[in-house]
Symmetry: C2
Subunit: 403 residues, 2 copies
Amino acid sequence: MKGNVLIAQSGGPTAVINASCAGIIQEAFKHKKEIDGVYGAVNGILGVLKEELLDLNQEDPATIELLKRTPSSALGSCRYKLSDKEYDRVLSVLKAHHIRYAFFIGGNDTMDTANRVNHLAKQAGYELRVIGVPKTVDNDLVATDHCPGYPSVARWLAIAVRDAGLDTKAIYCADPVKIIETMGRDSGWITAATALARERPDDPPHLIYLPERPFVREKFIADVKRVYEKVGYVVMAVCEGLRDPEGKLLSESKAKVDVDGFGHAQLGGVADLLSSMIKTDLGIKARFDKPGTIQRVAMSGASEVDIAEAYEAGRLAVDKAVRGESGYMISLQRMPGKKYQCAMGMVALGKVANARRTVPDEFINTDGNDVTPAFIDWLRPLIKPGLAEYARLKKVLVGKKVG
Amino acid sequence: MKGNVLIAQSGGPTAVINASCAGIIQEAFKHKKEIDGVYGAVNGILGVLKEELLDLNQEDPATIELLKRTPSSALGSCRYKLSDKEYDRVLSVLKAHHIRYAFFIGGNDTMDTANRVNHLAKQAGYELRVIGVPKTVDNDLVATDHCPGYPSVARWLAIAVRDAGLDTKAIYCADPVKIIETMGRDSGWITAATALARERPDDPPHLIYLPERPFVREKFIADVKRVYEKVGYVVMAVCEGLRDPEGKLLSESKAKVDVDGFGHAQLGGVADLLSSMIKTDLGIKARFDKPGTIQRVAMSGASEVDIAEAYEAGRLAVDKAVRGESGYMISLQRMPGKKYQCAMGMVALGKVANARRTVPDEFINTDGNDVTPAFIDWLRPLIKPGLAEYARLKKVLVGKKVG
């Protein structure tokens, strides 16, 4: 079956979406017998709805190659749930442009969209091959060892937390507590990754709080106090999606307040709230860093494993589609053995759509304030290159003479 | 005159303090005739007060070499203003440990301390050579072209803002406005550096707000509206030290509020406030990134020019001291000519102490919402390597068929 290719992306950007995109494009160009044009939807499914399609055959091959090292989403993305009527419109556009191969790069919402497009085409008797390419910094897709995008945010954060930890270690006399707020609305995978910053037991981060465990203020304060008294300073990573024991988001438990005629100000986030708690309960100043979207698209921190896997996931999607497969998402399967190896397979879109994988119990410590060694063993192979070596002074004190 | 060396550091960490430290140590080891021991004060002047001195001769040469690529301050830092009595104690400790060469790495407060120690030793007839080594991400020292530490935070932020800008460009359908809050309590040098992220006129950052210009809400909202209507999304860099026309810090104009039994919560910062303004006045959702201390110590973004200059400033300080100089800070002087060259000289500590250099008028645009090309020309040579090349698609649209 010969036809055109459509590539669409949805959801938040990552450092390696464009690598998946390059994998799809470069592989598609190799299949002259099956594929004519390669089209990119402007801002994902919205671009299909609006019939805004980019002709990627017009692009310079060097530009496509450079996509492997370009963060965010070159085609544009969106967050949009299609209505039934809009699904019909999508099918009309695909038909009109003779799209026979559709690749959707995204998370569980995107896989739901892909799944529905696949079924709709089947019902309508329109021959269409639909393959999903996994992408999410949240790492919360089921039926895959991990998700492209995650190893890069993990590596970037490990580097950032190690550096910011050294900062607090040096200036603890003035700023003894630092809270680093990470992304992760519903799962703690991103926050957990900061553990890689730690090389020795008392290294930062000293505490890691995931949304998989309820946040209890008294326990939190006791944790901070204990580390402060033992180590002399405290660096912690907290997830933006932390919830109280009633399941309410901490970030939503903060009121909107009218301030100084500036109108309604919504409070800043979890880290801000926690720093207030520490000041109130312990009388210790705490500052916070909230790298926000910088963490998820930072190319400078990208993992080489992630770039290569994202590319391969895109490439394999085309390979599978031209062989006649449809209705699947590419999944990453870790092979048994000491050396990290990742085999790629497929999983039914329906199995992935709208499902979510949180951090499992074996990766969270008993106290609910750190990860386990098993998590670190699982994560470390995904981070390439590892963190650069830093100097550690022996710190031999000179004998006192004044006293 | 033969004696021991003291190295002390104060104020906020940077990516290259340890490079200056390595410059001092490695140069000191070369002057066997003049120098015996090389001591590092634990947490700056506090370590002198407490007589906590590290014997750096005990360290492995490879560790000292690795300091050039290790961020933050390996000796530890502090923020501490000495009382008169404590100055006497400092002198006693210096005498007791036969310190004849004292090097203070820091900003304008540190240079004030160095200046007083120098005068005190002279008054007491104790032969001591005191040289300051400039260090501050704020870039606000006078009588120097720029300050070690600044080019690295500038490079890191330019990279981060370009990446975060691509993020908003891709997902503007869902998140059309992004505010990136940078450091800079009293000057806008750090915020201004984000302009390097921009390669073409409509690239982010679209707006840059420095504390050198008063913040006026109506003008700000008009700026955001104009960019939003023209470009379709808005990415801006704002300084944490922005002030209203009365000179009051925006961050202080926000009330402390009691929230949901969680105690007193202090609002998050300038970016948080501005995002509320945008929501209130324009009805547009705005999100913000606040990289905080991550920006100032990020080794991954460090400029090679900065690392080399920080090292050389430390090395030269020792060279000058053994030649008999005292009471000066090393200063960086840009040589005339097309190719960037930096000559290092000296400036009297008294001239630098407590003085502050803000961003000059010729570097700020007339509207007060951006920098000038002159600023970019001044900054660019300090950023080495430059920003990596990213792919830019031509974006040729396929002709519509459904319409």
